[in-house]
Amino acid sequence: MRHSKGSRSKSRRSKSRKKSPPKSWRSKLLKFFGVVFGISILALMVGFGVVDYTVTQKFSGKKWALAARVYARPLELYVGAKVSDEALKAELSQLSYQSVSYLSSPGQVTYQRGKTEIYLRKRTVNGQTYPAQKVQVQTRQQTIASLRVNGKATSDIVVVEPLEIGAIYPASGEDRILTRLEDIPPLLGETLIAVEDKNFIHHHGISFKAIARAMLVNLKSGEIVQGGSTLTQQLVKNLYLSNERSISRKVVEALMTISLELHYSKAEILETYINEVYLGQAGRRGIHGFALASQFYFDEPIENLNTQQVALLVGLVKGASYYNPRRNPERATSRRNTVLEVMAESGLISAREARDLSKKPLAVTKTPSSQHAYPAFIDLVKQQLLRDYELEDLQSEGLQVHTTLSPSLQSVLENSLSKRLSSLEKGYKINRDSLQGAGILTAVGSAEVLAVVGDRNPRYKGFNRALNAKRPVGSLIKPAIYLAALESGDYSLATTVDDSEVAVDLGQGDVWRPNNFDNKDHGHIPLYNALAQSYNQSAARVGMSVGLREVFNAIERLGIDEPLPQVPAVLLGAVELSPYDMSHFYHTIANDGIYSPLRAIRSVYTSEGERLQRYPLDASERIEPTDAYFIDFALQVAARQGTAKSIYSTISPDIALAGKTGTTNDQRDSWFAGYSGNLQGVFWVGTDDNQPLPLTGSSGALRIWTDVFSKAPLDGINKVKPSSVEYYWIDSQSGLLSKSRCQNAVSLPLLKGHQPKTKSRCVPVSGTKKPWWQRLWGN
């Protein structure tokens, strides 16, 4: 049996050996295909696994690098707030509030003389959400006299949404504003589906019907006029794939589409599409998503889009560059009207509505909104942000940066600076466009930077002179000399100082002989007047007498924390500092001797609206209250009667102001730093190649300062007199004690009991008859 079995099997083996070649070939082939098939399935499964992982990883995680968005300070309305009708109008216009005759929906405003009614939008400011509100503002003398919210008088602060003023974009250049599906106008989503993918709700990612229809249309027309891609496929292409056209890419695209449809709802896919889609270009910046496109083309938030605007934006999906409504308005109009027809066919609007709307103009803004128009201020914001954040995070995390910029003051600053530079060039016959300028406005007390201009063209993104132009500051430094003198105890505002010729031995045979600007000696003059008139000889003499070390110490305490050349010439401003540096210096004086680092940022929030960081006010006492009071007094005299007295030919004398001019050697730099009770401004005028100019601090920078301050809402300086200070009548010639109604008598604040003990001879003021009661009671 065994044998027979063995012989049978042998014979079978021999048989099979005989027939084996064809059988083995087939089996091998089968095996081969089996293996190939197996491997293919395995590869497909692995491939799908990889694709699936890739799709879900990106889709469930962070899909995009989001730009940090930068906002101005929100306008706050309250009774007593200093807001002019013009400023209010300008700010609301920048926020795209529509001027109408009757308020019917949020985002509208009506203007009457002295009365403004605003329908504020729903808004979230500082983590607090406010509903849409009707607000009535009545102003008198540039101040809010009454405020009503929804018809009721209120003493609360009404907060207006902040203006977006800039962004820090991802390295990719893609920019978008993320929107949730529930915040998108339903008509937009419906139109998008009607135009791009009618069957979106029902298919599973790939629509063979759509492919067949597209093929048919393309065959008929002889060119590719219609795509068969569903919204999901388009999203996959945009989100995960390159523009490459190959079979393998098509396979990957299909797998990804299926994966996306398997894992995510239609709502999630549509929301992502609406945020992802490319809709325009602004230089290097790609405009993605409907929310940003709405702002980019219409300067409107997405929720305010009307039907024809929706039609245009949906039409742009087909080719944002080809149908660019600014460059190719005819093409764009035709495309919009096609979309309107589709909307009518789909029952979204009536045929008549489509017809009527197709006659409407595109109404896109001429240029993209000016929200990225503050390069100098944004520079400062970036500088301060980079101390706490990595650039990569700023470019990708979608942070919301709330700053201190006042759009209305920024606009006043920009206009004043560029207009005045042109008129100076004309008036002084300076080469056209050769003058440059920079200016910074700061809120006194809160130390918030309100406006910055770093170039006469405020949109120029290059060299920022306000922050980075280090120029000799001239007489702007002088308050530090006199502060050091007052602090020494050897001087008071009444002390007479010698303004005759001065020579300072620098050693090795070198002698420094500074001259007055008018090349005259002014003899002995009281200290306050030496500062107010900005005499150089007396400043150099006082500085050397007090000691350079003391003067440098005062400069440092006033807010200049960089090393300075230890030479006497610094006394007359031979030290290079920027307008921003000098803003710190003068803010300390304006702020009653309290140093506060200037701030451009209030808070930083995450993209979800959670606060990451606040930038609080900081303060340190740098000058005694009495000395701060004295320096402020002398600077007020400079504004009333000194080198800056031209201020009051424009600004009402009822407003107490203070300031200091600065002019450097050969009049290469013109400076002015000055303040009111609430606002401080530092200005520089010069040329980039450091040319001599026919301008002084008074005839150059001061004029821009005056232009700005005459338009800004001002509080006059109103210092609280320290209890140890008393006003005394002093003879301004001799510095001795005088009496009222005596010639040359001036009322000066001095430390109580530190008045001069010797009385000057009183020569009654000529031409004035003493009142009878004074004659009766004697002097």
Binding site: Y78, G80, A81, R140, P616, D715, R741
Partner: protein, 170 residues
Amino acid sequence: MLFANSRNLFFVTNTVTNIVTNLNIRKKVHSFIRIFFVIITCAGAVGCATTGSNSSAPIIPGQEQGQATGSKTPPPPAQAPVNSTSRVIDDLLAKGKRALSSKQPMLAIEQAERGIRIDRTEPELYLLLARAYDALGEVTKAANFARQGLRYVSNSQFLLKQKLQKFTEN
């Protein structure tokens, strides 16, 4: 000198008044004489002064003298605001105090800073900052803000002055 004059003249005023009191026309003359002497007192005090004004706004040289120095600019009058922001400041102070008592010093700081943006010379706002920073354990900051607040306290605000001074003693 001003006060010395006032005291002497007040004595004279009273003496004259006492004499006139004995007459029948007492009531009418009494008030007239009082007003007359008060005016004389003030005028005399001004005429005799070697001290200038005690107002918080400085008298700019040349302006007080007017014709004497040939200045053309009038002195800056005290500014009367159209509408005071005091109610807004009071509201912010109240909110800040509530935040402090509910142990939210950061919120109190925000309210105080908001107030400083509106009226930077309101000393109560600096007291609120000092208290809030003190609650956070930042005593140096508390002292700094208290010192700043002290610069804006008027002579009549004794209690406020005391409260602020407490933080500067740390």
